[in-house]
Amino acid sequence: MIRFDAVSWHAGAFRLDAVSFTVPAGSYGVLMGRTGCGKTTLLEILCGLRQPSGGRVFIGERDVTDLPPGERGIGYVPQDGAMFPTMTVREQIGFALAIRKRPGAEITARVKELAEHLGVAHLLDRLPQNLSGGERQRVALGRALAAKPSVLLLDEPLSALDEELRDDLAALLKRLQRELNLTALHITHSRREAEQLADVRLRMEAGRIETAPAG
């Protein structure tokens, strides 16, 4: 479960006031709203990359408001994949486990498992500049899932892809979310993506969130 409880944040003239919403455990939440309305800021607060000026953030039953990003049990996939420029696909996917100093054999096995699952097993020794947009997003997804997070956060992950690839990746996202029983929050401008993916639809307007059931 993801829960925002009266979260506020402000910088200059831009402010979010007492934003509250819930994405139930195991659900796929899709957040829509105009450009610049604060969707990415909201996601960054959830990631722990920005500190709210008020309110509490919960992941599951745990209050994570004051936890550093790495201790929140989240996987984060930004818009362009945000690949690590000098690391191979193998290193990118194994990164979260390497940082946790997991044994080499465990890292190798997890990288292999995820790479096969995501269809990037033939790309493991490539650097990001030699990947297509769709491949990057698959690798970013593998990297986010390596440490088995309970929550997956996606910031317009399909916006830079062509339509056919979008449908493929959207299907993959939905399948993974179901198989791994993840709670997902996905930002998009695309109604089509929302229709394909959402269990819960959230709409952000004027610094507030309206929740609507999917369909």
Partner: protein
């Protein structure tokens, strides 16, 4: 990969003429200097003990300065790019002081600083800088580091913060994200920053003359040699050393241009 040729128009032609004339001027200057001497005279000048000493001292001090500049430029450049703090514009302007101040004035400022209680305390706690080889390095560093900081700032400005954010969500601290993700991606910029500091230090004259002196076989670096040889009318030696510096500078330029793309 060859770029497709552009259609020739009066506009492009005019720009090319302006650029071409400037390039011609630079090349003419270098060719004239090179033609002024012969290889025999060049090697004879470079065989002098004093000149050999200044070549070695220049290469050593410039390399030390480049490394020290990088040690300063990487954290400061990163701080300026990623951190938001009050008075940031003032700090940025202050860091450019060595770039905008006349080099001779920088040397004088250094000399005066080390006459104060603070400067004397630093010298008593570390080493003597005034009129020593350490002073040569400090004078080069004062200016070279400012250029290195600028280069690193530019480098970090062009590296997205997003991968660092992702690394932090994957379990890194801010320092680990910097060390494991951003720094490896900045290696080309680091090479450029060190090269710029090195090249700038090689040509530094004013502050070294004022702060470290121009004592032969002690604080004499290549620009000092040119000046000393010119002042006693030995134009041959001055030209020989100048050509050596031209070669060094072109070497650095080539390294930054070609090797930099590989780093």
């Amino acid at each position: 990969m060859a770029l497709p040729a552009q259609r020739v128009s009066p506009f492009w032609l005019a720009l090319s003429v302006v650029g071409g004339l400037y390039l011609l001027f630079l090349v003419a200057m270098l060719v004239a200097t090179a033609g002024y001497t012969t290889p025999d005279k060049l090697f004879a000048a470079l065989g002098k003990r004093e000149i050999q000493y200044s070549v070695v001292l220049s290469l050593v001090t410039c390399t030390v300065t480049a490394l020290l500049s990088l040690l300063l430029a990487v954290p400061v450049g990163y701080l300026l790019t990623r951190a938001r703090f009050p008075g940031k514009h003032v700090v940025e302007a202050a860091l450019d002081i060595p770039i905008v101040l006349p080099p001779m004035v920088m040397g004088l400022c250094l000399l005066i600083l080390f006459q104060t209680g603070f400067g004397k305390f630093i010298e008593s706690a570390t080493v003597t800088f005034t009129y020593t080889v350490y002073g040569v390095v400090l004078a080069q560093f004062t200016i070279g580091a400012a250029f290195a900081v600028r280069t690193m700032r530019h480098t970090f400005d062009h590296l997205s913060a997003r991968p660092e954010d992702v690394a932090m969500t994957l379990g890194c601290t801010r320092a680990q994200a910097f060390w494991l993700v951003t720094l490896p991606a900045a290696r080309r910029g680091m090479f450029a920053a060190a090269s710029v500091a090195w090249a700038r230090s090689l040509g530094e004259f004013g502050p070294i003359l004022v702060f470290a002196g121009a004592t032969r076989m002690k604080t004499e670096v290549l620009p000092t040699t040119v000046w000393l040889e010119l002042s006693v009318g030995n134009l041959e030696a001055a030209v020989a050393v100048s050509l050596l510096m031209v070669l060094c500078a072109m070497g650095v330029l080539a390294a930054v241009k070609w090797l930099g793309e590989e780093v």
